[in-house]
Structures are given as structure tokens and as C-alpha cells.
């Protein structure tokens, strides 16, 4: 099957290796992966900031770039949720675009959701050895129902020991632009998340959304924790290369 990768702007800028890991995973599952070159951002920052017009423009851009493909996969629950669940409403006033959105959106998936429910790879390329605690990111968890999918995939890696932290489903305090508008509150929430994660003494905190991971990593390092690794689930599942 042919899959178009929606890289996400954060991965593009901050952690390209997550994008490449996603490609390796999809290829391991037998998918032919294409990466539309003109892709940029899903428009979530504008949408959540109340700039509906800008968000609608970017929604149309994403639909036009990706709708020819059978499946669209993003290594982010929050971007996948934005596209899958918000685009139809965002374009509700424009019948033609609304129709295109309705045809397009059900084919958009978050990476681990796609791997477990659709592609189902027999083997994963990753070889992580150590303990992991998993942070459930809000949009993936509560809007896309992503909870067991990453855990099931991680459990396929023989070297991984999964340790649940208290409050795994609680928000890490990132919240997109919230993190720069209310930095103090955001960092204070992140501190609780890090404290919860650290009770497990896991080698790595793993999640499916880079925004949360940058927030958690930034807080951990400021707190003086240099040893706990913060990794995207795709990096763990695909292994280093």
C-alpha cells in the first residue's frame, strides 16, 4: 500500500530522525512511502489561536497535496487529530472543500495507530534495550483513542521493559502556543509530569508527539536530569541507523 508521510513541522525542524524512523517503520510494514515535497504545517497553531481563516487556507493546502494518496500518516497524534477531526468543520462553509475533506480525512492516521490497525508489520526494525515509561499525549489519547497501540508495538521489542508512570494520561503542560504564552504555568505542569515519569526510574520517557517531548526534555534538563532519555516512539520502534 502507498502511504504519504506527513512529516509535521516540528519534526522537520527539530528532529528529522523521527521522520526517517517513520519511513523505516512504514517500509518494514511493506508500505511504499512517499513524502510530498511541498508540505509544511497542518495549521494547528493558527486554528488554536483563533485565526480560522489562516487555518482553513493551510487545511486546503494539505488536502490538495495529500488527497491523491491511499493513506496519510503522521508521527504525531496532535497533527493527525487536527487533520482528521478538525478539517471537515473548518471547511464546513465551502461545500466543495468540505466534500473533499470528508473524503480525505478518514484516511489520515497517527503512526502507531496506522501500524497496529492497518499496516501491521510482522517485525519491527528497532532494538531498544532498557526500560521505558510512556507518556500519553492528549490529542492522540482523547481524540484518536491512542493508548494501547504504542504499548502493543513497544511490547514487540524483546529488550523493552514498559513501566507505567502515575498520571500517564495527564497533560504535560505543552499545549502548543500555551507553552510560550504562559511559560511559567506550562513549566510547572511539566515539572509534575517529569516527577511522575521519574518515579519509574525508566531509562527513557517515550511519547508520540514531539511537542510534548521537547517540553518534557527541556524541563528534565533544567531540573538537572541528564540521564533520562526522551524519545519519540518511532525512534524506539525503528532503532538507530
Amino acid at each position: 500500500m502507498r502511504v504519504a508521510l506527513f512529516v509535521t513541522c516540528l519534526v522537520d525542524m527539530m528532529r528529522p530522525r523521527i521522520g526517517f524512523a517513520a519511513i523505516r517503520l512504514l517500509e518494514a510494514a511493506g508500505c511504499e512511502v512517499v513524502v510530498p515535497e511541498t508540505q509544511t504545517c497542518c495549521g494547528q497553531p493558527a486554528f488554536n489561536s483563533g485565526d480560522r481563516a489562516s487555518a482553513a487556507k493551510l487545511a486546503k493546502k494539505v488536502i490538495a497535496e495529500f488527497e491523491a494518496h491511499e493513506y496519510i500518516v503522521a508521527p504525531s497524534g496532535s497533527c493527525a487529530d487536527q487533520i482528521r477531526n478538525e478539517y471537515p468543520g473548518l471547511l464546513a462553509d465551502e461545500p466543495e472543500w468540505h466534500r473533499r475533506a470528508l473524503a480525505f480525512c478518514p484516511r489520515v492516521f497517527e503512526l502507531t495507530d496506522f501500524l497496529t490497525r492497518v499496516a501491521q508489520p510482522a517485525e519491527l526494525p528497532g532494538g531498544f534495550r532498557g526500560s521505558i515509561t510512556y507518556h500519553d499525549s492528549c490529542a492522540g489519547l482523547r481524540s484518536l483513542g491512542i493508548k494501547e497501540q504504542p504499548r502493543a508495538l513497544l511490547a514487540q521489542l524483546p529488550g523493552v521493559e514498559l513501566r507505567e508512570m502515575p498520571g500517564a494520561e495527564e497533560c504535560c503542560g505543552f499545549g502548543g502556543t500555551f507553552s510560550v504564552k504562559f511559560g511559567e504555568i506550562s513549566a510547572a505542569i511539566a515539572e509534575k509530569k517529569c516527577a511522575n515519569a521519574c518515579t519509574t526510574n525508566a531509562d527513557a520517557i517515550v511519547g508520540g508527539d514531539l511537542g510534548c517531548l521537547l517540553n518534557i526534555e527541556g524541563k528534565l534538563r533544567r531540573m538537572g536530569d541528564e540521564k533520562t532519555r526522551v524519545l519519540h516512539v518511532a525512534e524506539v520502534l525503528a532503532g538507530d541507523r
Binding site: 509544511t40 504562559f182 511559560g183 506550562s186
Partner: protein, 472 residues
Amino acid sequence: MQIRSMFFKANASAALANPVLQGNLRTSKGKFVDKRRAAVADFEAEGGDFEAMRAAAAEVRNLVLKDLDLWLEKFESAATARGATVLWAKDGEEICRHVVDIARRHSVRKAVKSKSMLSEEAGLNQALEASNVQPVETDLGEYILQINDNEPPSHIIAPVIHKSLDEVADLFEKTHRKPRKTEIPELTREAREALRAHFLDADMGISGGNFLVAETGSVALVTNEGNGRMVTTLPRVHVVVTGIEKVIPTLEDLSLLLRVLIRSATGQHISNYVSLLTGVKRPDEHDGPEHLYYILVDNGRADLVGSQFQDMLRCIRCGACMNHCPVYQTIGGHAYGWVYPGPMGSVLTPLYNGLDKAIDLPHAATLCNQCGVVCPVKIPLPELLRKLREQQVEKNLRPWLERVAIKGWAWVAGKPKLYALGTWFGVRYLNWLAGGKNRIGVLGAAPEWTLGRDFPAPEGKTFRELYSTRRR
């Protein structure tokens, strides 16, 4: 209540810097969350379907809101037929005027109150004092706040959740002039002793109302302390102050809504007291008020009917949204600056007071949707917050720098070549800031981020650069 929501950010900073408050928030965090979770689990273990019940509760509330005027008229005629007087108030000032008039008419000198958030909206206590009527709060939490120089509540059902046992013990020692108590039962007994005399010589009882039942003209009250029952049965005059949206059609609907309300609020299966009060004292009855007044309040609610914010009027004031909110859990309720804190407050405060009075509140949420999934009447709180943000943008109320940044980002993202160039420079700039380290300590472009945490440095090149080279 004087609104202070425009100072949200400063309020929140002060809350974060207050070690006593932070300790109290840590102690209380999760208690309501755990209790609600257990109550829902119990309900489901007994074969119940909590999700179906939430949906049914939301449907009842929607049904009422569709024909709110008709249900209110129905309530009014049923209540009037049972000897009550129904008055209407368009705002807080009118609430105060009505209550003061009633107090004068019945020569009231003291009024005992059970919890009413509407009386907070109106600043009723101050109005009563100005008219020489002594208001006495009898809900334990509200009593504590009243004797602490009329401190405002920080939670809609647990008004003193921000205080520690020690703080209350100090306050009681100072106010009651009795030896300092340290155990909760002793403190409660001391408050009860102080309050009993007030109950006995009060001429008027003022209560809120959780629900107004249209078919019977009754008010339903949900409490845990029993003070509500004393307030509504002992004094000769009872005044109910509640919002026009609280009406529901039938007793059957009441039983459904009580089930979701109480589990969502305190995690109890049923509260210690559920009172259903109908009409004035009849000749064959031993207790109950001789005069019963309903003051049904608009104060911004009617404007929401038929608007894109109508869903908010479903709210049954359980407090689950704030209990589960990471922001509320971190800064407490006072920072929100008005009567209602947390997600429901961040929607209601700007709607009832004006968008410009609470510019930060719709943004003071991570949109994690924990509130939305626990709301017993399925109010899409994050969506409503986002709609408020849209209204702020439409009315040009956001800071210009933010507008430029968002518009600019979206504009660049619409032009792939420009975006590629921008991100090429962006990651190099960030790496230069990191100076060879894997993190940035001070980020000039987003200084708020690095106030309390580092900003991890980017890997080096953008994905699109690497992808185009690797593919070649």
C-alpha cells in the same frame, strides 16, 4: 463580584510563587479525580453505563435550552400555585435589590445562607450589610471564607480547597477566641456551635438551587453538611437565588441528573443530603418557610441561548472540569479572578463580563480536553474556548505581536519555498544559540519557554534538506 480576570497572568505567577498554596494544591490534587473515577467504576461494575447516562443528561439539558422560556413559565406557574413568588433579575444589581426589598418587607435583620454562586456573582453579602441585614454563610467552607475577611471562594463546590488545616485552625482560634483545635471534627464542631445560634435567630434563609423542577415548581438542593436544610426550613422567609438555565422538566429528569452530578462532583453515589423543596409551609406542616421567593437570574445567560455558546448553559456546576484541569491544579481558583474558575469559568467569565475583561482566560488552557471527557453533560469546553479565541481575533483583542506571529507563520507555511528557506535559517539560528550544546537556556524569540525549562536544540538540518540529499 469585582472582576480581576484581567490580571490572570500576574495572579497565576503569584500563585506559583506561594509555597503554602502550592503545598495545599499538591495535597488536594487528584482527590476529586480519584473519587470520581472510583464512582464511575462502581457504577459500571453494577451494570450501569456511565457514558450513556452522560449522553442522556446532556439531552435533557438540551431539550430545556431549546424552549427555555416555556419551561421557565411552566416552573413559574407551578411554583406560584404552591405559594411561592417568582421574581426575575437581569443582573447582579437586580438580585441585590430584590433580596433587600424582601428583607425590608419582612423586617429581616439576619439572613443565613447556604452556598450560592449566584450570590457571589451579585456581591449579595455586601448589599445586605449595606442595608443593615447581617448575612451569615453556613456552608463550612463559605463560613471560613466569610470570617477570613470575606475572601472569595476558589472552587465552586469546595470553596476553601486552597486552604490547609493549619490555616483554618489559626483562623478559628483568632475568630472564635477558643483554644486552638487541630483535628477536623473538633474544628467542625466549633463552627457548628458558632453557627447554631445564627440558624435559630435568622429571619431569612438564602440558598442557591441545583435544579428547578418545572412540573412541580420545586427546587432541588444537593449538599453534604445539612446546613442547606436548616437554611431552607428554619427561618420564616426563604429566598432561592439561581440561574434561569437551572430549570429541568420533570422529577424523572432530576433523578437522572443527580446521578451524574454527584458522581462527577464528589464521587459519591449520592450526597449526604438531597432536598426537594416545594412551596411554603402548609397549615398541617411543622416546618418550612412562611414566605418563599425564587429569584431567577439572567446575568448574561439569556444572550447565550441560540448562540454558538449555548452548550455552556448545560452546565450543572459539578466542578469536574476544574478538578481535572492541569492549569487549575497548578495555580488554584483565585488566579482566574472571578466567581467561576477552571475551564467552565474560562468560558463563562468572558461571556458574562465581556471578552475584553478576561482576555487571557480562553487561552489559559492546554486544550488537553480532560475537562471535555469528564463533563457530565458533555460540554465541549476546549471547542468553546477556541471559539472565544476566534471572537478575540475577530474583534482585534489579541496583542499585535501574537497576531503577527500567527499570521506570519501561516503565511510562510502557505509558501513551501519560503517555508524551506525560513526553516533552514531557523534551525541554524537555534543551533547558533545552543552554541554546541544540546539545549538553549534563554530563547529570545520565545522567552516564556525558557523561564522554567530549557529548549532542546534542533538536530542540525531540516528533514526536507536531509530527505532531498538522501534521495539523490
